[in-house]
């Protein structure tokens, strides 16, 4: 007997009536984690919210039913959802920093949930219960902790508080909406471990909403893959990972970097349709290499391939027997003999009284990709910003070819300004929203080469072509582009400067995996064909494997370990690196 039963759920936009998710059927079993995987816009959060009877502004739950532990959530019960929420089904948010009330003490935020559902007769009884809950999620339970405000906690602690709130009223179902997105890998590993224990010990069923297949591989018993508002494949974890039977699942698996092997990341061309632009037939059809004429006729019905293993693909039976092919990346470039183009020696950076970088050193050789990897606060971004003179105070030596670079950008020689191009993390902030792409690229061109008019346009179009954007992009504003496209424009802006070094600061962290894959292969291509040297800053160790020739691990402002990426990841010599690698979820668990 399932704990939760979702039948024919449909959520649609109130304006147009187009569906956000449709035909959703699944059940949750006690003590199991079911993963709901999808890229942005797939509708995964919408389904997660529906489990609590909620639809975001501008959307509504149009039809279907959700029953949890014998109680209706959808359609909403007559006496309202208030009694169901928290008690029968609870929610763990994506961003705990935003989900905890900044003006309320932690203890009060937990105990008010108890009070709302009449748990604990007195204040003291509830306080006692709050302490138990905090212990259960492995937090301190003293008065001092209860009296803290959310901003006084770390990200991991905040998420644990949210988990304590969620389990406080002993719900039967837990909806977790990308609960570890903002967390470092080590923290993520701890939180996930706690979650598994809670699910096991209490027999809770968890719906784990995520974009991260690697986390799923280590946590979930069952997996549902969502594409453009429909579950395209679902089944036991082992079946879905070993015998993916939907082309989208297969492509998704091929796009994900893996800490365990040096994979060639393959992107999925095109983009997922929004609710208003879906075609008839299979929504994945336009992006599918395997599509056949039959795909155009009607939405494919789920095909049962094995017990519980369903795929909405007309060719599912052919695919399930074909092993997922995962290409390996070409071996790393051997650049040990190449000259050094950029070197840092004993770089210290202070922010006020606080030292954030302790004598960091590295060498970047011509034509190689050096990954700078570390968790938040490791100093990796500070080091990369120090290279371009964006840190307030810096000592030590940074050298580009023959130039010893001054400590602040203001005095940089033009040669260095041109040769070292910095690409920023957020594709949303990196481009001026009020300028057209052509003007954005043109400004750099005019500045360095004093080129205008037809010659400028030629070069701009050339750079855009280089990053696989059509010439007409020049007339567009950033808001008209997707995240991946904006990041391409940012790369094109760097390219028109004719750089030698690209400094990439977490440039794929805001992107979907399939888009990330395409950016990574673009960078690889540029590195090879334009002989660029790459300094690739990232927190994603899996990605290091796929892109970097050498890696430098940083922790708390210090360089921990440097070496060929294969060596460092396979046989880390430092304890810190070992934990980091071990805590990173691998695809093949």
């Amino acid at each position: 007997m399932s704990v939760a039963e979702v039948t024919d759920l449909r959520v649609e936009l109130t304006g147009t009536g187009a569906y956000v998710v449709d035909g959703i059927n699944f059940s949750l079993e006690a003590g199991e984690v079911t993963a709901l995987v999808g890229e942005s816009g797939s509708g995964k959060t919408t389904i997660g919210m529906s489990m609590l009877g909620e639809a975001r502004r501008g959307a509504r739950i149009a039809s279907g039913s959700i029953r949890i532990a014998g109680e209706d959530v959808v359609p909403a019960p007559r006496e309202g959802l208030q009694g169901v929420r928290g008690r029968v089904v609870a929610y763990v948010p994506q961003d705990p920093a935003a989900a905890l009330n900044p003006a309320m003490r932690v203890g009060a935020q937990i105990s008010e949930a108890l009070a709302a559902h009449g748990i604990g007769r007195s204040k003291t009884a509830r306080a006692e219960r709050v302490r138990e809950l905090l212990t259960e999620v492995k937090l301190a339970s003293d008065d001092d902790f209860l009296a803290r405000y959310p901003h006084q906690l770390s990200g991991g602690q905040q998420q644990r508080v949210c988990m304590a709130i969620a389990i406080s009223c002993e719900p039967r179902v837990l909806v977790l909406d990308e609960p570890t997105t903002g967390l470092d890998v080590t923290t993520q590993a701890h939180v996930l471990r706690t979650l598994s224990q809670l699910v096991n010990a209490r027999g809770i069923s968890a719906l784990y909403v995520t974009h991260d297949l690697a986390v799923v591989a280590n946590l979930a018993q069952r997996v549902m893959v969502l594409y453009s508002g429909r579950v395209v494949e679902s089944g036991p974890r082992a079946a879905v990972f070993a015998h993916p039977a939907h082309p989208y699942t297969r492509r998704l698996l091929a796009a994900i970097p893996d800490v365990a092997m040096r994979r060639q990341l393959e992107s999925i061309p095109g983009h997922a349709p929004s609710p208003s632009e879906r075609l008839t037939g299979c929504s994945f059809r336009p992006r599918c290499k395997l599509s056949v004429p039959a795909c155009e006729h009607g939405v494919p019905e789920p095909v049962e391939l094995a017990r519980d293993h369903l795929s909405r693909c007309v060719r599912a039976h052919e695919l399930v027997d074909e092993p997922a092919e995962l290409a390996l990346a070409p071996p790393p470039a051997t650049t040990s003999l190449s000259p050094t183009i950029l070197a840092a020696r004993d770089v210290d950076v202070h922010f006020g009284d606080r030292q954030v970088l302790h004598s960091a050193s590295f060498e970047l050789r011509v034509g190689e990709c050096l990954a700078l990897v570390g968790e938040s606060g490791s100093g990796k971004t500070t080091l990369s910003r120090a290279v371009v003179g964006l840190t307030p105070s810096r000592t030590g030596e940074i050298r580009y070819r023959d130039h010893v670079l001054p400590s602040t950008n203001r005095n940089y020689p033009t040669a260095a300004r041109q040769a070292i191009q910095y690409i920023f993390q957020s594709p949303y902030n990196a481009l001026n929203p009020r300028r057209q792409v052509g003007a954005i690229l043109g400004a750099a061109l005019e500045h360095f080469f004093d080129v205008k008019g037809i010659e400028a346009r030629k070069r701009i179009v050339g750079a855009l072509e280089r990053v696989a954007l059509p010439a007409r992009t020049t007339g567009m504003y950033p808001a008209q582009l997707s995240g991946g496209e904006r990041q391409r424009v940012a790369i094109a802006r760097a390219l028109v400067c004719r750089p030698e070094i690209l400094l990439c600061d977490e440039i794929t962290s805001a992107l979907d995996v399939s888009v990330q894959a395409s950016i990574v292969s673009l960078l690889r291509e540029l590195q090879r064909e334009e002989h660029l040297s790459l300094l690739f800053v990232t927190h994603n160790i899996g990605l290091v494997r796929s892109i970097a020739d050498r890696v430098m691990v940083m922790n708390q402002g210090r360089v921990v370990e440097t070496g060929a990426s294969q060596d460092v990841l396979d046989a880390p010599t430092e304890e810190y690196t070992r934990t980091l690698v071990a805590d990173t979820p691998a695809l093949r668990a």
Binding site: L52, E54, R57, L81, Q82, G83, V84, R85, G86, R87, A90, Y91, P93, D95, A98, A99, L100, N101, P102, A103, M104, E112, A113, A116, H117, Y149, H151, Q152, C162, I165, C169
Partner: protein, 245 residues
Amino acid sequence: MTGNLGQSLSAREPVTRLLAAPVLNSLILISASAVVSIVLAIVLGVAAAARRDRLFDHLFAAFAFLFTAVPEFVVGLMLVILFATTVLVVLPAVSIIPAGSGPFSHLDIFVLPVATLVLTCVPYLARLVRGSMIEALESEYVRMARFKGLAERRILFRHALPNALVPALQGIAVVLGYLAGGIVVVEYVFGFPGIGTALIQAISFRDIPVIQAICLMLAAVYVVVNLFTDVLVVFVTPRLRTAQS
């Protein structure tokens, strides 16, 4: 600074004595207007935010953006036409305090001036409250509170309101600063015996010491109000309050 504001040129008596009564009258006028405006703005703003996009909210919006920044003398004289001279004749059109009696024995003279100032302040302030309440109500922590199964009333007053307070406080500071100027025109409209009327008289007599004194007081209102607001903002924001420790 000695605290001595000098001698009035036209009345030939010390400025402090000349202005004592007007300052008291104006203080009453400002405080009454401020209290009524703030209470009304918070009630209206919260109510509109809680009933977002429903009839009440639409009526509120229509009222608010019609009356934002309509000049005080226009509002004041419209009220006079409506309630004192032409349509209804129920309230005094001018605010005269007979010699020898205090302002508290003639409360009816305050009604129209206060109403005028309230009508010019409330639209701005209430919209601000509504806006910051809506922002709070759309936040992740309010969604989380709903998902805990809390009652809507608790969500409104315990979760949303405290977080909507900071913009409201800053708005209140702006309104108080604005009131300091608003009274000048409103007092002139009603012939109200306060520092606004005194200022306009002093200007027409070129009575520099009186002008100086009044301007100093008005600027002081601004400085004190802003200082006080900054402190209050820190006090109601845990993140700022706990910053030192």
